[in-house]
């Protein structure tokens, strides 16, 4: 990957759909124009690009800024839906979690409609794979005990992390449009600047330049370089699906661009309303012929809606000791393909197409977050 491409990827990491495309095009034009200007002043292309990217500044600053403009307002709208569901008699609850044994880290999980499907980030998912909020003061205490430098201001609108052995401080900025809204029991939405979304945490941590992993299902462990911490303990467990969803949403979106499906309006998300998708789901048990239990998988299917094809992101699941995983799907007979290209191929019949992704545990290298499970290793049992 070229420096330019890497920069564009990082700067647009947190965006998707139309916004991602617009910001990328705009930055590409900026880079191209500025490089040209430097070349006119006698720099060679490599020098010109280096200076251009330095002038632009760190890509995660752009990404974080754009997140405040686009991502958080979208989130707030999504939460509005969740609160609407809550008002219909479903309840939200506040779960506590613990970090590294001692520090209590309150986390609000959006489980307002347990077992019900809601739309989160444009995907229809089970609510339990939805939103996760992390308490900033607790995270600060936890990370400082692990020698991470944490800088904040009084109102928590700035939150900066510098990990040992990293020269890149990670700065989270929460302007007045990106305040974190949290869902609390019987209180609906609260404007609570002390919380940040787990997705935002994961999205930004990858800019440290250090190896980053997410491992273990029962007690998920995040590692950034030599620093390891957990967002749960046996006493105060976290919903692993929620945590993994927060970590994996952006990488999934990057390799499985949902805008590729809608050919007429390529910037719009496909229609995922119940009217557009088959809503009758059945449980499919999948048997894998690989000797790796306790692995995390994501199933994505392409299903024919009333107007157009749509993607359905299924629950993130972990395989059992028998190498089996279970998913709920609207497909009667999923047809697994061996590449993303084949998944999107417009020439052949798209019906029943599915792809199974195995999470490698690594979150730092874009290309290495997932492996596609070859169809020859997949057997649908029921």
């Amino acid at each position: 990957m070229t420096d330019r491409e890497r920069y564009l990827k990082l700067a647009t990491w947190s965006l998707w759909g139309q916004q991602k495309k617009i910001v990328r095009m705009e930055l590409e034009a900026h880079i191209e124009h500025k490089v040209w200007k430097y070349q006119m002043r006698g720099y060679n292309h490599t020098e010109a690009l280096e200076k251009t990217l330095a002038d632009l500044g760190q890509p995660h600053i752009i990404s974080a800024g754009m997140t405040g403009v686009y991502t958080m307002p979208n989130l707030i709208r999504r939460i509005g839906l969740i609160v609407l569901l809550s008002s219909l008699g479903l309840t939200a609850f506040n779960a506590g979690a613990q970090v590294s044994g001692t520090t209590r880290l309150p986390i609000i999980q959006c489980l307002s409609s347990l077992g019900k499907e809601v739309t989160v980030f444009g995907f229809k998912v089970q609510c339990e794979t939805g939103l996760l909020w992390i308490n900033k003061p607790s995270l600060k205490t936890t990370l400082e005990a692990l020698d991470v430098q944490v800088t904040t201001n009084k109102d928590w609108s700035k939150f900066q992390l510098l990990f040992p052995n990293s020269s890149t401080p990670i700065e989270f900025r929460f302007n007045d449009r990106s305040e974190v809204f949290s869902v609390a029991p019987n209180k609906g939405i609260l404007i609570d600047p002390e919380y940040m979304s787990a997705q935002m945490l994961f999205t930004n941590l990858q800019f440290t330049g250090l190896p980053m992993t997410l491992t273990d299902w029962e007690l998920p462990t995040i590692s950034v370089g030599n620093i390891k911490f957990q967002l749960s303990s046996q006493k105060t467990p976290i919903n692993s699906k929620t945590l993994y969803f927060s970590a994996l949403y952006s990488p999934i979106q990057d390799i499985m661009p949902i805008n590729a499906i809608n050919k007429n309006k390529p910037w719009l998300m496909p229609n995922l309303t119940p009217a557009g998708l088959e809503t009758t789901l059945s449980t499919k048990k999948i048997k894998l012929s690989r000797d790796q239990p306790n692995q995390v998988y994501v199933l994505i299917t392409r299903e024919a809606g009333t107007n157009k094809d749509a993607l359905r992101l299924h629950q993130i699941q972990v395989s059992n000791a028998n190498q089996e995983i279970e998913f709920q799907t609207g497909l009667q007979a999923p047809r697994f393909v061996e590449s993303i290209k084949k998944f999107y191929d417009e020439k052949s019949d798209s019906t029943n197409r599915a792809v199974l992704l195995q999470f490698t545990g690594r979150l730092d290298q874009y290309k290495e977050v997932f492996e596609i499970v070859p169809p020859s290793e997949i057997q649908v049992l029921q």
């Binding site: 095009m25 034009a29 449009r177």
Partner: protein, 112 residues
């Protein structure tokens, strides 16, 4: 220039630059630099989120148009009527604030 001062007035600066015509991001940055003899030192990447925020708020409109030198199309920003009203309000607030700060200063006593 104090970065906080720049950040706190970024909307006012951008709307002022766009008051009399459309421009794309790099042009806006260079214009700010030229008009103020380099007083405003933007980290260029920080300008784009602000431009997008102002667009979402309805103060600016944005469209891709062919770049004057060819190559990739640039995204041009134009101030809207809503943006112009907001600019007048922001300028008045800034002038008031500036006057108020000046009013705080005590005149040095003249020595006789």
């Amino acid at each position: 220039m104090d970065a906080n001062l720049l950040k706190g007035n970024l909307d006012l600066i951008l709307l002022t630059i766009l008051e009399h015509g459309e421009m794309y991001g790099l042009e806006i940055i260079e214009e700010a630099n030229q008009r103020t003899n380099g007083y405003f030192e933007f980290k260029e990447g920080s300008v784009y989120p602000a431009l997008h925020r102002l667009t979402v708020q309805g103060y600016l409109e944005a469209n891709f148009k062919p770049s004057p030198r060819g190559g990739m199309p640039s995204r041009y920003y134009t101030i809207t009527d809503h943006g112009k009203k907001n600019l007048i309000q922001k300028q008045a607030e800034f002038d008031q604030f500036s006057q108020a700060v000046k009013g705080l200063r005590l005149e040095p006593k003249t020595q006789s």
